[in-house]
Amino acid sequence: MVTYPKHARCLNCKGRTFEEIELGDECTLLTYTKLFAYPEGLELEYVWERPPIMLGIVEFKGGVRAVGQLTSEDVKIGMKMRSVWGWLRKVEEDDVYGFRFEPIK
């Protein structure tokens, strides 16, 4: 069984042996939101009031899902997306980077 996030025991068989696999970049948008009231840590430097952030849940082939920021406001449920690397936020003083999702034109 493929899972994200990681668990210490398999959600299916409670086994403890895992291997990491590539999910590929392509996924489908399951649901999304435009978040206006963003939390501390997502402020942008030199921007007094940042624009809202887009967040969504995407589904990869095989059914594994992930949640993350979307690079575009122009999205709809069922849309094909791809993952791209980028800056996400600060936690305390540390920058956090990770995958974001952009629509495939």
Binding site: P5, L30, T33, L35, Y38, E40, L55, I77, L88
Partner: protein
């Protein structure tokens, strides 16, 4: 296992309680409950204090020991219970088990939170740490999870923003007559749809509960001793608790609140009752969509039918199954650690016939859902007027 009764309850008003700290709120609610129970200077065996973020928001930790000191409840056992937004339900469950097991005879449960003195972005971030790190690190907040849940729900079951607004109007209208409520503002569906500020699309500020200051408390004892204190004891007929995947995206069907399903089934089984036996319900409507979804997964309506029951007035205070006559989290307010206890205070009053202004006539059985995380840990209690 012994039968357990609630013999006293009390709470503070919910809202912006300027000049009162966390310990003041816990003290006020506790003293109200002690006076209501008429326990006088009797010794308590145990105290359970529900609080989520005293350390972060009020700069006070280990507050159960502090409260015992403040109230002179020495040498009672004292524990703080933290289980996210379900802390209140968990604290009541612990008190129930302590009495039911025969180990304790007199137990105080009190929940409280001081939230309004903290700047909003910091509060939003503090609450967002309840989410799984793979959600939190992307900037996901509780309103964002609720908004993604709502959009999927609308897509799948035909719920509209108008239905969400109807939850707000129902609960704000109920709260107008609840003196303890945070919100005392009349509101219409039209004004919400046209004017409300968006928090996380499609949820507006009116779809998201306020964060509140507040506290609530209960006194529990064995049912066989309840009449020594009180003429109208309320029996804890059943409780149930269940858990689910932490990350919302990892649930097989993210629109199903499985922890609630499990908790609800267990509570009904223990109480030997069915959903149709319930007269009044308090759900955890931190977001309007949750009242609709919970009314289904609790077992009151079929999946995808909750918004229709709402539309038909079934869940109105004078309907067949009143939901959140107190105003719910949406309008009574949400003081994190206090909320699950406050729900049971409100329902105790309903069953005693003491819920002035918001009384559901003839209520003899009540249902409370204390909902943690975004549904990954849920505690349900069923209460019954003692015969």
């Amino acid at each position: 296992m012994r039968e357990v009764a609630i013999i006293g309850c009390g709470m503070t008003k919910f809202g912006y309680l300027e000049g009162k700290g966390l310990m003041d709120l816990l003290t006020e609610a506790s003293l109200n409950a002690l006076d209501d129970a008429g326990t006088g200077d009797k010794d308590f065996d145990a105290v359970y204090v529900s609080n989520v973020a005293g350390g972060e928001l009020s700069h006070q930790r280990a507050i159960a020991s502090g409260l015992v000191d403040r109230l002179n409840l020495f040498p009672a056992a004292a524990d703080r219970v933290e289980n996210g937004p379900a802390s209140g339900g968990s604290a009541v469950k612990n008190a129930f088990l302590a009495v039911a097991s025969g180990i304790n005879n007199l137990v105080l449960v009190v929940g409280g939170e001081k939230m309004m003195a903290t700047p909003r972005a910091r509060m939003t971030d503090a609450i967002a740490t309840i989410a799984h790190p793979v959600e939190y690190l992307h900037g996901v907040t509780l309103p964002a999870l609720a908004a993604m849940f709502a959009r999927l729900y609308m897509h799948r079951y035909g719920v509209t923003r108008k239905h969400l607004a109807m939850v707000t109007v129902k609960n704000h209208t109920n709260a107008l007559k609840n003196p303890y409520a945070h919100e005392h503002t009349p509101i219409s569906v039209e004004s919400i749809l046209e004017e409300a500020t968006m928090v996380s699309d499609p949820l507006t500020a009116y779809d998201c509960c306020p964060t509140s200051d507040g506290a609530a408390a209960l006194v529990l004892c064995p049912a066989e001793k309840a009449r020594e204190f009180c003429d109208t004891p309320v029996r804890v007929a059943g409780f149930g608790q269940g858990t689910d995947r932490h990350a919302v995206h990892e649930r097989e069907d993210p629109t199903i609140l499985n922890a609630l399903r499990v908790a609800s089934q267990r509570a009904f089984k223990m109480a030997n009752l069915k959903p149709k036996d319930i007269d009044v319900v308090e759900l955890h409507d931190a977001f309007t969509i949750l009242e609709i979804a919970q009314s289904e997964d609790a077992g009151f309506f079929a999946k995808g039918q909750g918004h229709k029951a709402l539309e038909e007035g079934v869940t109105a205070i004078d309907g067949k199954l009143p939901i959140n006559p107190s105003g719910g989290l949406n309008a009574r307010g949400h003081a994190l650690g206090a909320t699950g206890v406050a729900q049971i205070v409100e329902q105790t009053r309903q069953l005693r016939g003491d819920a002035e202004g918001i009384q559901v006539s003839g209520a003899s059985r009540a249902y409370c859902c204390s909902f943690g995380g975004f549904g990954n840990n849920v505690v349900v209690h069923i209460l019954e007027r003692a015969g």
